[in-house]
């Protein structure tokens, strides 16, 4: 399959600060893949997103070494506005990405720039508004939305452009749990349609059953590129301490150190429950063991 994204020996620092934020990062993403990105706060995840989106170096200046190709276009060679036709984004901060005065204007902004037919643009709105639970807010002024509602709007606005590649930089940080679930469901649907997705999130549990790959960043470097399934099926004691372990993983490792679970348990909720059922049914391990394990 062809490549959607290619990052080659990418290093970067901002103009006003000589610390290198990204250090010699290389990876490729195939068309239709969903890739999760995790790393401690301040490691440069958002900076990487800006690079993929061509905002660095076109709009935000800095020292960029190496190359980024999006749909085989080198981001250095075209404007960020042009690249935007190939790759969509939901930024981390819900507030500063809103340009429209009303929800409707906000949704239309992208497609209008791509010279789409107004009637077609309008017809797309109701579906997407329902998808993000803002069905009744179409005429609302954007500054009157709550934090989470703004984030929902940002997601809908990005989807209005039917991007082939989509970056989601912590898209659910201010959403309620059901909203988060809905967004991940939407991601699954997009995946089915073959959209390439790059997903940044501190909550890894929802990510696990959507992504095909997990990229782990530490100290500006890409330190691991693994299958999500394998990620927790090993001893992570003392490693990635910034990463929140999903509750199932915590339970699994406590059961493991209690001698109840033999190997590493499956981190996906449904399969985890199945494994627990088996353990409860077999029931032949020691009863009381100090439940330690890591958090």
């Amino acid at each position: 399959m062809s490549q959607s994204v290619r990052v080659e020996k990418l290093s970067f620092h901002y103009n006003n600060d000589t610390r290198w934020i990204l250090k010699n990062v290389s990876f490729e993403i195939c068309e239709g893949d969903v890739v999760g990105i995790v790393g401690p706060s301040g490691v440069g995840k958002s900076t990487l997103c800006y690079c993929l989106k061509g905002i660095i170096p076109d709009v935000i200046p800095g020292n960029l070494v190496g190359n980024v190709w999006i749909d085989n276009i080198n981001t250095r060679q075209v404007s960020a506005g042009k690249i935007a036709e190939h790759i969509g984004i939901v930024f981390q901060d819900p507030e500063s990405q809103i340009v429209g005065l009303t929800v409707e204007e906000e949704l239309a902004f992208g497609p209008e720039n791509m010279e789409e037919d107004p009637a077609e643009i309008l017809s797309r709105m109701p579906v997407l508004l329902d998808l993000v639970g803002l069905g009744t807010f179409r005429r609302q002024e954007t500054y009157k939305l709550s934090g989470g509602q703004k984030q929902r709007l940002a997601i809908a606005s990005a989807l209005m452009m039917h991007p082939k590649i989509l970056i989601l930089d912590e898209p659910t940080s201010e959403l309620d749990p059901v909203g988060r679930e809905e967004v991940y469901q939407a991601v699954r649907n997009l995946k089915e349609k073959g959209v390439t997705i790059i997903l940044v999130d501190h909550h890894i549990e929802e990510m696990l059953d959507v992504v095909d790959r997990l990229l782990v960043f530490e100290d500006g470097m890409l330190v691991e590129d693994s299958k999500p399934r394998d990620f927790f099926q090993r001893d992570l004691t003392g490693k990635y301490t910034w990463l929140r372990r999903p509750q199932v993983v915590q339970v699994g490792s406590m059961l493991h150190s209690a001698g109840v679970a033999k190997g590493f348990m499956n981190p996906l909720e449904e399969e985890f429950i199945e494994e627990l059922r088996e353990i409860l049914a077999s029931g032949n391990a020691p009863d009381s063991v100090a439940a330690g394990g890591e958090r």
């Binding site: 404007s79 506005g81 042009k82 500063s96 902004f109 791509m114 107004p118 002024e141 500054y143």
Partner: protein, 267 residues
């Protein structure tokens, strides 16, 4: 809390909904021209009165109208203080610091104050009733580059954006104990001045963020742009613009014949 990026508030008023932004822009210019053609207090006062009525008609909220009125009074007072020192025409009223203050001087001061007030008011009315989105759309319709339209639209947003920032910072400072309604005039002014620096710098940040957000959604990627906002010149617009032209013609006629003009050799 930020009060949005624009002064524009969608209202069901006639001015908001029924009149094309191009017509409104035309009338804005017409009012400017008209206020420059007359320099006597009476025609300007009449225009001022009509504008006040139009503000109510355009559902401009009362607090804003009040602010405009206060500014107007301030402008008039200021210009009554200034003009009489320069204007020698008319009958002498009294002597102040060795200069004779004349009746025309005072009247001309009032007229000039009114003129500035009218300009500020009509501009506000225009901003309040014309959505930036529609301005951009109408630029598109006229075949002008839409980026220019956006530039106009965005700069209109700048004023309220700064006002919104101001409100945000004031609220944040209040919740940490700064009280703007306490203290003397001087200390209040000081508190306000202290906000200016951070506010301007933050406005730059916001402008940068806005630019990023716009580029991120393909702004400027094509030479054209479509718009879901429909702008259409209907016959009503033609009548209004025609009326504007007639009034300007009338204004020019009056100017030539000195009607409503207090001092001929002043603008």
């Amino acid at each position: 809390m930020p009060s949005g990026y624009s002064l524009y508030i969608d209202r069901p008023s006639f001015l908001h909904q029924k009149i094309d932004p191009r017509t409104k822009t035309f009338m804005l210019v017409a009012t400017f021209v008209l206020s420059l053609l007359f320099n006597g207090p009476i025609p300007l006062a009449v225009m001022f009165g009509l504008l006040l009525a139009a503000s109510r008609w355009g559902m401009v909220p009362w607090p804003l109208v009040r602010v405009l009125l206060m500014t107007g009074i301030w402008f008039i007072a200021l210009s009554v203080l200034i003009w009489p020192w320069y204007v020698r025409e008319g009958s002498d009223l009294f002597r102040l610091f060795g200069v004779w203050i004349t009746s025309d001087g005072v009247l001309f001061g009032i007229a000039m104050g009114l003129r500035v007030t009218i300009m500020v008011m009509v501009a506000t009315l225009w901003m309040f009733t014309t959505s930036p989105q529609k301005i951009t759309a109408s630029f598109l319709k006229m075949g002008l580059p839409y980026k220019a339209g956006m530039a106009v639209g965005s700069s209109i947003r700048l004023v309220p954006l700064i006002a919104g920032e101001w409100a945000t910072i004031v609220e944040a400072q209040r919740s940490r104990g700064v009280d703007y309604s306490q203290g003397g005039l001087l200390s209040r002014a000081k508190k306000s001045v202290q906000i200016l620096g951070p506010m301007l710098l933050r406005s730059i940040d916001i402008a940068q963020a806005l630019a990023i957000a716009m580029e991120a959604r393909a702004f400027g990627s094509r030479s054209g742009r479509t718009s879901i906002t429909e702008v259409r010149l209907v016959s009503l617009d033609k009548w209004v613009m025609g009326f504007g032209l007639v009034v300007i013609g009338f204004g020019v006629f009056c100017r030539i014949h000195g009607i409503g003009v207090l001092l001929r050799n002043y603008l």
